[in-house]
């Protein structure tokens, strides 16, 4: 049984990676003069795909935390910001002020900064995680929300370090030796390579002992505690992993955008992240890319189509749709669209199997 599942996962990973690689290859080789965006009727572009990849990494972390450990976070954009700022500050300021000459201008400095960001953010999550995860449900939601707000506000101050409200610009592109991971088509492969790696690791975590402990906590924390699960430790671990993933995504964002400022890391972003996780299915790692993509496509559709077709401004309608979608999903499909979809297919198949006389479970 278990082997079958991991087998299925392996096939899924290969298939998914192949599709992603094929999509990217379209833009690299341009068969018949086609570009990636032509495949999607020019609604989804390379730029959007990279953003989807980056946020997928954050949402996978959020899945582990919310879907598996059952701990809500309304401040995930804060961890995302920490990663982005760690990369931004370390790669621009060190070079500007001539700190660490010979190191700060090498190609591996940016990667080192990325890792440093992950360690810092993970450490920060560990420090705040212990006390904060004692809280539950509503209280935890509000505490993480407050945390996210504080990080967001503080990042707009101290202009010497963070660039204030304008933020930092001219963050260098990533390189490996002399090979620049840019233009965008190359970056696409890096981001999605990381995203798939993260998905694989997360799926493995979920199927491991830790994953079982996490699910036990989600179902019934007291019961999990009495049956020997160190609930506090496991919860903190989930938070730290989610923070490290958010930080990684933040660094990728910083090198993609080449600029960081407080604007893209506000409370709205935390809510959007939760929405994406919810659409994909809170406890479905594989749902993450689809949840993120769904919201991006809705937003791009509304932006590029609604104005031209209906002659109305997209902004307000987009948010209304967003809100209604969120409510509907939470009421009717709390497991998420993809999970519910899979469930539905499975049920259909079962019905079909039953009618044809073969019993499957």
């Amino acid at each position: 049984m278990k082997r079958i599942r991991s087998h299925g996962n392996a096939i899924g990973v290969v298939l998914f990676a192949a599709v992603i690689a094929a999509l990217g290859a379209v833009d690299v080789f341009r068969p018949f003069g086609l570009r990636f965006s032509d495949l999607t009727g020019r609604i989804v572009t390379m730029d959007t795909m990279i953003r989807i990849g980056i946020l997928t990494i954050v949402v996978v972390g959020l899945n582990l935390l919310m879907g598996y450990a059952g701990q809500i976070s309304l401040g995930q954009a804060g961890f995302y910001a920490l990663g982005a700022y760690a990369s931004g500050i370390l790669t621009t300021l060190a070079a500007r002020h001539g700190i660490l000459p010979g190191i700060a201008d090498t190609w591996w400095w940016a990667w080192l900064a990325m890792i440093a960001g992950m360690i810092l953010t993970g450490g920060f999550a560990y420090l705040v995680g212990r006390p904060i995860l004692r809280l539950k449900g509503n209280y935890l939601a509000m505490a993480t929300l407050g945390l996210g707000f504080i990080i967001n506000i503080v990042s707009g101050e101290f202009p010497g370090l963070t660039g204030g409200n304008d933020g930092l610009t001219e963050i260098p592109r990533l390189r490996i030796g002399g090979f620049a991971l840019w233009p965008m088509q190359r970056y696409y492969f890096l981001v999605w390579g990381m995203a798939i790696l993260v998905i694989v690791v997360a799926v493995n975590i979920v199927n491991s002992r830790v994953g079982r402990a996490l699910r036990a906590i989600h179902t019934n924390e007291t019961a999990a505690g009495t049956s020997g699960v160190d609930t506090e430790r496991v919860k903190v671990q989930a938070l730290v992993i989610s923070a490290v993933l958010a930080s990684l995504a933040g660094s990728l964002y910083a090198h993609f955008q080449s600029a960081v400022s407080p604007n893209p890391f506000g409370f709205t972003v935390s809510v959007q992240l939760v929405t994406m996780a919810a659409v994909g299915g809170l406890s479905s790692i594989w749902g993450a890319p689809f949840g993120v993509a769904t919201l991006f496509v809705i937003s791009d559709l509304l932006q590029s189509r609604m104005e031209n077709v209906l002659h109305i401004q997209g902004g307000g309608y987009e948010m209304i749709l967003y809100g209604i979608l969120l409510v509907l999903i939470m009421i009717f499909l709390p497991a998420g669209v993809t999970t519910s979809g899979v469930e539905w297919v499975r049920r259909l198949r079962r019905r079909w199997a039953r009618s044809s006389g073969v019993e499957t479970v």
Partner: protein, 338 residues
């Protein structure tokens, strides 16, 4: 056992001590900025005004939370809706005298917002009533986003003007005493808070339906066994919360300029006030709201105002971590039960 009205003299003394320490600290910092006594009085008065609005919002949080166990993110949007509906009706060309028109506008603001609160409960909370806290929070966030975006479409991104009650004009009457100024609208706000507090007390303590609401807050299951319909009570709680929010928005309207996204920060601060008060006691959160308003204003005044909102979030996290049952009494309904 949570009670709406509790007296805890010991804890009040504790609060007084904390306030004293904070005051001394702010005096020290304020002297660096050459603050005169008038400056402090002004800061405190303005803080009390803002705090009264937080208190009204916090009451809304408490009512909903006690009865249903839900933190209603949309509480801030009720404030916005109350103010916006009121000013829209007031701007209509009705054959009424200005004063009557204002009264009609206020009534419309409160009633329509209450209706929206009821609709919200019926359409989104009721169908998901058996879901987990996380799900319910996300639902109220979804409602918040929808209401705010709808407000943006209806009222636009520009702030609007609600006339001051005293003059029924844009400009309010201002009283000045030796360098300290009080807007007449502040008096309206304080009076409203007092009246609401009394009305709420009478409603919860003296009327049958109020008692049913309290019973539901104490023990939902037991209340149900006694023939109280918890679904009706949940609806009532949301209606009450929406009405409280709308009143807050309407009395606040003339001193700020209502804008579609005003609910965000107000809602969060109302929640912090509710947390200070322990989330279950009405007088507790009123003191919490006033306290938050004053602390926030003083802290911002003596340090850098840029960190004003940081102050309330630090208070939020500190209280959640150190005393989740609130500083002011409150309850044995600790976090473990959620």
């Amino acid at each position: 056992m949570p009670r709406f009205f509790q007296r805890r003299p010991v804890r009040i003394i504790g609060i007084a001590l904390i306030v004293a320490v904070l005051l001394i600290a702010s005096l020290a910092l304020g002297s660096l900025k050459h603050y005169s006594p008038q400056n402090y009085i002004q800061l405190i008065l303005d803080g009390l005004r803002a705090g009264s609005i937080y208190a009204l919002m916090a009451m809304g949080f408490v009512v909903v939370y006690s009865v249903t166990g839900i933190i209603n993110f949309a509480q801030g949007e009720f404030v916005m809706l109350g103010a916006m509906i009121c000013l829209s009706v007031d701007a209509m060309n009705l054959p009424l005298s200005p004063a009557l028109k204002m009264i009609a506008a206020i009534a419309a603001g409160v009633l329509l917002t209450t209706g929206i609160g009821i609709l919200m409960e019926r359409l989104t909370i009721y169908p998901a009533r058996r879901s987990s806290a996380v799900t319910l929070i996300i639902i109220t966030i979804g409602v918040t986003i929808t209401l705010r975006a709808a407000a943006l479409l209806i009222w636009g991104a520009d702030p609007h003007v609600l006339p001051a009650f005293t003059t029924l004009a844009l400009e309010d009457r201002i009283f000045r005493f030796g360098g300290v100024m009080i807007q007449a609208q502040s008096l309206w706000i304080w009076a409203t808070l007092a009246v609401i507090l009394i009305l709420l007390y009478v409603f919860l303590q003296r009327t049958l339906i109020g008692k049913a609401l309290r019973a539901c807050a104490v023990n939902r299951r037991a209340a149900q066994l006694m023939g109280i319909n918890p679904s009706r009570m949940s609806m009532l709680a949301f209606a009450l919360a929406a009405a409280l929010g709308a009143v807050g928005g309407i009395v606040l309207g003339p001193v700020t300029r209502p804008i579609y996204d005003m609910g965000v920060m107000l809602g969060l601060r109302g929640f912090v006030a509710a947390i200070i008060g322990g989330l279950v006691s009405v007088p507790g959160v009123v003191v919490g709201g006033l306290l938050l308003g004053v602390i926030e204003n003083l802290a911002a005044g003596v340090t850098d105002p840029a960190f004003k909102s940081v102050v309330s979030f630090i208070i939020l996290i500190a209280i959640l971590l150190l005393r989740p049952q609130g500083i002011l009494g409150g309850g044995e309904k600790s976090t473990e039960e959620l």
